[in-house]
């Protein structure tokens, strides 16, 4: 029972992130006068970093994440006639990227794991590192990511998408095709299980 406040903090964390993200979010709506090519160019300029983060959360490899983002935009190009009908372009793009990433991950199941922690450290700009972030070593980061991979699929996906700061729980729910409350409970369960795994690992070490 004493661990409840910690869990509650963990549970509420995505919501807090969401509010912060929404407050700083720049809404992007392509001008009506733009043709599809110009719209796609504008989407690339505006969303490529967000999509890269979404892809990276699953692929954990810079080259493969970028390839997934390119693949997502190629799919957008193929369905460019639908651009006018899309209500929320960001969620639509994230959903496409998410599907691309899951396809790639499924295909690469036969290949050996390619989590590249050194690569991760390289792509992370030094200016963005906070004081507490510098404390965490690459090894520990890799260890926690491996534990995340051991979580059940639904919980893992919700947790990974919640890591992308630009995404609200509503948007995560839209991407994963479920309700907001379901996403909240999945994230809560994921954090609790991850905590238990960390505990177990700490004892065994």
């Amino acid at each position: 029972m004493s661990s409840f406040p910690g869990q509650l903090t963990g549970w509420m964390a995505p919501a807090l992130i969401t509010e912060k993200a929404l407050a700083s979010e720049e809404t992007f709506a392509p001008a009506k006068t733009l043709d599809s090519t110009e719209t796609i160019t504008a989407l690339v300029a505006h969303y490529s970093a967000t999509l890269y983060r979404v892809a990276y959360s699953v692929m954990r490899n810079a080259a493969e994440a970028e390839d997934a983002v390119q693949e997502a935009f190629v799919r957008v190009l193929k369905h460019r006639e639908r651009l006018g009908e899309i209500h929320d372009l960001r969620v639509w793009l994230i959903r496409i990227t998410w599907n691309v990433v899951l396809d790639k991950k499924r295909r690469s199941k036969t290949r050996p794991e390619n989590d590249d922690i050194a690569d991760f450290v390289r792509v992370l700009p030094a200016a963005d590192r906070r004081a507490d972030d510098s404390l965490i070593s690459s090894q520990e980061h890799g260890r926690i990511l491996k534990l995340i991979d051991r979580l059940p699929r639904k919980e893992r996906e919700a947790l990974l998408l919640s890591a992308v700061e630009e995404l609200s729980t509503v948007q995560i729910a839209t991407v994963l095709g479920t309700t907001e409350s379901s996403i909240r409970s999945r994230i809560f369960r994921a954090r609790r299980e991850l905590s238990a795994l960390l505990e177990k690992e700490g004892v065994s070490r």
């Binding site: 690339v44 810079a62 700009p125 965490i136 700061e165 905590s195």
Partner: protein, 164 residues
């Protein structure tokens, strides 16, 4: 004891938060937009090239297919019209339909033979295999089922034995 568990839990949460924050704040290598734009331009040119070659492939056969289909249509129209003419104008010699006939007749209408009918030999037209007595003639070489008794046909030379 509880405080220890609480601190440990908090520690775990902090570690998870740090990892997630770090995972969610990665930035792509510089120039990602340019690379994506270049890839999209490549895809666009590939698509255009594919559609151009498809158009080239269909351009020449389209004319040939048009000519061939119009020829087939002409032949079908001519053949149909000739066939129709043959049907409404009977060409069988010797037939004379009654004047003013609409082409439809009742079953009781007079049937006109196509050609003159010759008189049957010996005044009978039923069967050439019958003798003068009216009995069927079965040759001795004819295959007969086993166990069936067939009366022997009297030879024409010996005369009609059935008559007194």
């Amino acid at each position: 004891m509880n405080r220890g568990i609480y601190h440990e839990q908090q520690n775990h949460d902090q570690r998870i938060d740090r990892t997630l924050r770090r995972l969610g704040s990665v930035t792509p290598a510089a120039g990602i937009e340019d690379r994506i734009s270049a890839r999209l331009a490549r895809e666009r040119s590939k698509t255009q090239g594919r559609s151009a070659s498809r158009a080239r492939f269909f351009a020449l056969p389209r004319f040939a297919i048009g000519v061939a289909s119009s020829l087939v249509a002409c032949v079908a129209i001519i053949a149909g019209s000739v066939n129709h003419s043959h049907r409404i104008l009977p060409t069988v010699p010797g037939v004379r339909l009654p004047a003013g006939s609409s082409g439809m007749g009742a079953a009781s209408a007079a049937h006109i033979a196509n050609q003159p009918v010759s008189a049957p030999p010996q005044g009978r037209a039923r069967s050439v295999r019958q003798t003068a007595s009216g009995r069927a003639v079965i040759s001795s070489q004819t295959q007969k089922p086993a166990g069936v008794a067939v009366p022997r046909t009297p030879s024409p030379a010996s005369g009609d034995a059935t008559r007194p």
